[in-house]
């Protein structure tokens, strides 16, 4: 059996680590764990914390803000989050986006009124214009 295991740590914005390690230690929702070569296939949610990688006797660290871990027979994949996730935090952001939409709809209403006024103004101006012309004509005739 091989002594090392291929590890890929990726986030949606970049690839954080890719290479072979002797051991990976990380923190899952049910506690800390270390993955050695030959580990059974595993899927786990990760909490924010450090990932410790042992590469040829030396240790390397990287930090992830949660994510998902998949252990395959010959490979470990860590899908790291780019931001700390919490349900209420997401909810707040969702509300923000909704509010933005509402604001836009409201502003659109205002803009629409404005355009209505604008067209009315144009109509009035045109009427005035024709009236003035008529008056001039009448003056010339008289």
């Amino acid at each position: 059996m091989s002594k090392t295991i291929q590890v890929e740590i990726v986030s949606s914005e970049e690839s954080i680590f890719s290479g072979s390690c002797e051991m990976v230690s990380l923190v899952g929702v049910l506690g800390a764990m270390s993955i050695l070569p030959g580990h059974a296939p595993l899927l786990s949610l990760l909490v924010p914390g450090a990932v410790r990688l042992q590469i040829s006797g030396e240790e390397e660290y990287c930090y992830i803000s949660g994510g998902i871990l998949e252990v395959q027979p010959h490979m470990v994949i860590v899908l790291a989050d780019t931001a700390i996730r919490a349900h209420d935090l997401d909810e707040a952001k969702a509300l923000e986006a909704k509010g933005e939409a509402k604001k836009m709809m409201a502003e659109r209403g205002a803009e629409f009124d404005y355009s209505l006024v604008e067209s009315q103004l144009a109509q009035a101006a045109a009427q005035l214009h024709t009236l003035q012309r008529l008056r001039k004509k009448l003056k010339k005739k008289s």
Partner: protein, 295 residues
Amino acid sequence: MANTKEIRTKIRSIQSTQKITRAMEMVAASKMRKTHESMRKAKPYARYILEVAMHIAKSHSEYRHPYLEKKGEVKQIGIMIVSSDKGLCGSLNVNVFKKVLGMIREWLQQGTHVKLCLLGKKANTFLGRKGFFKGVKGNLSVVSSLARLGDRPAVADLLGAVRVMLDAYEADELQRVYIASNTFVNTMSQHPRVEQLLPIPSLEDKKLSHHWDYIYEPAAAEILDALFVRFIESQVYRAVVENIASEQAARMVAMKSASDNAEGLIDECLLLYNKARQASITRELSEIVGGAVAI
């Protein structure tokens, strides 16, 4: 013939415009390289998350996630429209809007409700145009919008808008969710594209030869939830980043042609200027000669 001073000021003003378009062209070129890089960086995540999702789908066939399930009758549709924040990028945004509006019109005619999520400022201003919603027959509304994403948006910036759509989908308020954005073909061409986000299309079509019995920590459903939410988010992120890369490429091309046109205008004006100058010299000469003859 126009006087020489007038032409000179015109040339000068065209030159200063040209300077601006040149600068914008170069800025767009360098930004395009950067966004292209972040597009490339986002690829492995999308690939791995798809891989993991497929492994699970394969080894866990009895559990069907709602994101994979096709819903029977389609009454309401969500569309996320990705656009740029700034203009001056050719017909980039208009192309997407045209394509999406065509589809929206069809759905509305069938009596489907359409809910929009607008990403980027241009979509906001385009759909916020006066009387836009008035001319539309049927049920169309904007449920969320997000603007000022900048040149390098983080995934975290997009989460809110995505969550609104996912919540609506989970609550069965939407039966399908699409995303409309530009695809970056190459620097010269970007194509508008409308893709289905939910339900996730044809995940199981790709055959995998192997599967494992996983140990789940915690339960499988919980992991699948987290996984699919992230999958959708990464799809949206990719669309947004790709749209930004397209925007920069389109701007670069537009600004290049603007600079070239300015060059042409300057040449024309210069010719006019020289002719005017020549004419005034000739006139002066003939005046002098005329004066000399008179003496």
